[in-house]
Amino acid sequence: MTWRRLLRHETILALLVLLALFVLDRQSDKFFTLDNLFNQGRLMTEVGLVAIVMTFVIITGGIDLSVGSILGMTAILIGVFWKNLGLPLPVAIGLGLVVGTLAGVANGIIITRFRVPPLIATLGTLALYRGIAEGVSQARSVRGYPEWFYVLGQGQLLGVPTQLWIFGIAAVVAAALLGWTTCGRTTYAIGSNEVAARFSGLSVDVTKVAIYAASGLAAAVAAAIFVSRVSTTRSDMGTGIELDAITAVVLGGTSIFGGRGTIVGTLLGLVLIQALKNGLSLAGVKSDGTVVLIGAVLILTILLSNLFHRDQNR
């Protein structure tokens, strides 16, 4: 039953993606070139990493609004650790990832230990983490990273952009975790009925903290890639990335109420958004027009998918 429902949404979405790709291909002959596709993959990776973990978060019935701020904070701290404290860059990146993960752990603890609704908890940390980024940086940017660092965001590995490897591995690991492990099933159980999951002896709190920690880590990895891709660090990096990620996840069929969703759906959502952005800009539509379309597609997809199984939703 559940499977049929999931498949149905993802089928609609896959058809939409195909339709979009087809239309965009007719619009511009530059769209289906390897260069362009790889380039789009680069642009998609940061949101993609965040969205993959966001899928877990939303399946548990939660939400993480603070990822954009964690990204900004980590980016600034990597810059500050390296430039101002004089640490070697790999150590600075390592510390940045640790801080990002800890920021996620803090979210998880506020949500599980103090029973604060995730929307509010991460709204608070959204302001706090971005505030730390702004306070530490005092609006100064950091540039002049060593050449080897740019491999991460601008270079290639075996002919494929470096960050696409990271993204691909993350997606496969996440899909396997969610689909085939106890951890994944616990995630669904929490979202379907948290009290029942607790009474069934599942480690609800530990799982939730781990998921929010992973969300922080994903944002931190995205930060390192982002800094490497644009060769500079600013405190406003990643602003609004949480909304892009949530849009991709929800577009991918994950219920905002929790309990259902898949990584495949999220990937389709990401591809659809990126294809629209790119294809329309190749076809000469200004990027702001694309933003309008993405908003409309989000509302329409959810509306359609709701109409198909209206009776089951409430």
Partner: protein, 330 residues
């Protein structure tokens, strides 16, 4: 109906007042404490000019937070309000520049705001879409649409008579009047009318409200329209502050507005809270921002302070709630 003000009303006297309006009292105390401490460090903080600037310059946030509080009390959320205010400000400015009477430029955005949010409300109520998803989509549509249509151009040459926010009535800036009157009116309306109370009932338990004969869907559409109208009034105060209007969405405005509601004691779970709290919270933010300048703390730390404030308020609130919950179970 297990709506908590109703529940608390059984207690008597001052205890009842403290219990029902705990959050509002805490914020009022925080506000007084802030003024006392900062003016001790730097007396110029209390200057009439500065206080006026703090309150009047941020009155639009308080006004928008009134509508937001209603939405949250009903158990919904609107993350598109900042974008809506940006769009309405541009419409208002364009009308003023193209020679329409200023009162049209002031009031038409209120109707447009109500109409746009009426659509949002209908999608939420009848389309059964989660409000966060609809307003997330709306955020994209409004934000993208604004820049798409205007190309990011600024509006200059606004007629002087358009500057409502700089006018004074009985020596007090007009925005402060709007904030006070609307807050008190909304507070009384939500407390004393059947319509207002039904919002708490829907937020407390939508099914129970339906069973009690409240037309839940229609109410949701109506409350979204009212919220849109408040966003329109906020626009009227926001757009008329300066001599130019930027055709972009003010960054993070929706978060500031939601935060004001939540810190003001409106529970994100729906069903409780008042608009007095949200207005006090909006003033508190503005005062903190100004205070940091007066005690020589870099303004870049402002957001971190506000974030800490949200977390502390929420943690204290949850601790109190959990204690009450346990108490009521014994």
């Amino acid at each position: 109906m297990t709506e908590s003000t109703e529940f608390r009303a059984h207690r008597s006297g001052p205890a009842r007042c403290v219990s029902a309006y705990g959050q509002e009292i805490v914020i009022a105390c925080a506000l007084v404490a802030l003024f006392v401490v900062v003016s001790a460090i730097n007396p110029r903080f209390l200057g009439a000019n500065n206080v006026n600037t703090i309150v009047s310059g941020n009155a639009y946030i308080a006004v928008a937070a009134i509508g937001m509080s209603m939405i949250i009390i009903t158990g919904h959320i609107d993350v598109s309000v900042g974008a809506l205010i940006g769009v309405l400000a541009t419409i208002s400015g364009t009308l003023a520049v193209s020679g329409y009477p200023v009162w049209v430029a002031w009031t038409l955005p209120i109707l447009i705001g109500a109409a746009i949010n009426g659509v949002v409300g209908a999608l939420v109520a009848y389309g059964r879409l989660p409000s966060i998803v609809v307003t997330l989509g709306m955020l994209s549509i409004l934000r993208g649409g604004l820049v798409f249509v205007t190309g990011g151009a600024w509006i200059n040459n606004l007629p002087p008579s358009f500057q409502l926010a700089q006018a004074r009535l009985l020596g007090v800036p007009v925005p402060i009047w709007f904030m006070l009157v609307l807050t008190i009116a909304a507070f009384l309306w939500m407390r004393n009318t059947a319509f207002g109370r039904s919002l708490y009932a829907i937020g407390g338990n939508a099914e129970a409200a339906r069973a009690a004969g409240i037309p839940v869907e229609r109410r949701i559409v109506q409350v979204f329209m009212i919220h849109g109208a408040f966003a329109g009034i906020a626009t009227m105060l926001f757009a008329t502050q300066l001599k130019i209007i930027q055709s972009t969405v003010p960054p993070n405005l929706e978060l500031t507005i939601i935060t004001a509601s939540v810190i003001g004691g409106v529970s994100i779970l729906g069903g409780t809270g008042t608009v007095i709290g949200s207005t006090l919270a909006a003033v508190l933010f503005a005062a903190i921002g100004s205070a940091m300048i007066f005690v020589n703390v870099s303004a870049y730390w402002l957001r971190a302070v506000i974030g800490l404030l949200i977390l502390v308020t929420v943690l204290v609130d949850m601790a109190r709630r959990n204690r009450e919950f346990r108490g009521s179970q014994r």
